[in-house]
């Protein structure tokens, strides 16, 4: 059984990667934060009594389920949004201040002094963007296998597919990423 400290250490070790993983999937920081929080709550409430060794796989499965739930809810919400927006006029756009958007962009811009750090940030963003572009299953397999250090069997269980499929997804993802980054002259 994982103690409070062990559970805490585990969550510390995975929270950032889980956030990035969720961002790759949903492409929205706030939604990704909600997803990670939900996954943490579910793990803590239902599986806190499990051995520490089982937590990574359990957390991955929960995270994947929460991401899929997010897409299901979004699908329903989009349906209603389309229905409701067709009933509304476009007058709302007139009330928007374009300077607000500019202001927000300014706030989020990170002012770095070192040129190298800026360049490295750009490379990391490019890598993030290429990972985001991967098909969902390839991305899931790649992230779990190579970033979360899960073996093929664990990744297959978390993804609910065969080990052969995991290997195929990983191989395709790696080749696609290598080709995309090479085309942009980026070396990770």
């Amino acid at each position: 059984m994982a103690s409070r400290q062990e559970l805490s250490d585990f969550l510390v070790s995975v929270e950032r990667r889980a956030f990035k993983q969720a961002v790759y999937a949903v492409r929205d920081d706030d939604a990704a934060l909600d997803i990670v929080q939900d996954a943490m709550f579910k793990l803590a409430e239902k599986y806190a009594d499990k051995p520490t060794a089982e937590l990574p796989l359990l957390f991955q499965r929960i995270l994947q389920n929460v991401i899929h739930d997010h897409f299901r809810r979004q699908k329903v919400r989009n349906l209603w949004t389309v229905l409701m927006s067709s009933l509304q006029s476009d007058d709302d756009d007139e009330d928007r201040d374009p300077m607000e958007a500019l202001g927000a962009a300014e706030d989020s811009r990170v002012h770095e002094s070192a040129v190298q750090r800026v360049e490295r940030d750009q490379i990391l963003r490019l890598i993030d963007s290429e990972i985001q572009k991967l098909p969902a299953r390839q991305r899931e397999a790649f992230v779990m296998r190579y970033w979360h250090d899960m073996d093929v069997a664990e990744t297959a269980i978390a993804m609910g597919c065969s080990e052969g499929s995991v290997k195929t997804h990983c191989s395709r993802a790696t080749h696609a990423l290598a080709a995309a980054l090479k085309a942009k002259g980026v070396s990770p």
């Binding site: 409070r4 559970l7 805490s8 969550l11 510390v12 929270e15 950032r16 990667r17 956030f19 990035k20 920081d29 934060l33 990670v36 929080q37 939900d38 943490m40 709550f41 579910k42 793990l43 803590a44 409430e45 239902k46 806190a48 989020s108 990170v110 490295r120 940030d121 490379i123 990391l124 890598i127 993030d128 990972i131 790649f142 296998r145 190579y146 970033w147 990983c170 191989s171 790696t174 080749h175 990423l177 290598a178 070396s187 990770p188």
Partner: protein, 132 residues
């Protein structure tokens, strides 16, 4: 460069990227983690006893339990079945009453058919043909 080497280079880049998350994000992750740890050691059993039937374990942000989902599926079906049975029963009863009223009206009319007419075979055939 083989697949493993490339993957490990990417892994380093991803780790680096995760380390550079904005403060807003890391703070939110930290508060989510602390809240999760609180939940891990909260008296979950009592909560489940109260909400057990309606949620699969936890507060309202959890998915509904199997019992609740079963109930929410079966209850409308049972209500529809009861309503249909009621409509059919009511329709049968009203038809019987209607027929009885017609029969009673036939017997109570001033120029009612004499009782002996019903003993006539030809009259019986006539009545059947008229009803058809």
């Amino acid at each position: 460069m083989n697949e493993q080497m490339f993957a490990s280079q990417l892994r380093r880049a991803l780790d680096e990227s995760a380390e550079r998350l904005p403060l807003r994000v890391t703070q939110r992750l930290e508060s989510a983690r602390l809240a999760a740890l609180e939940r891990a050691h909260a008296p979950a059993v009592r909560r489940r006893m109260v909400l057990g039937f309606f949620s699969a374990g936890g507060w309202m942000n959890d998915r509904p339990s199997v019992g609740f989902r079963l109930l929410s599926t079966l209850l409308p079906l049972v209500l529809v079945a009861v309503a249909l049975y009621g409509i059919v029963a009511w329709d049968d009863a009203s038809k019987i009453i209607e027929t009885a009223e017609i029969d009673a009206a036939l017997f109570l009319e001033d120029d009612a058919i004499p009782i002996s007419a019903y003993a006539d075979k030809g009259f019986g055939v006539y009545i059947r043909n008229v009803r058809q």
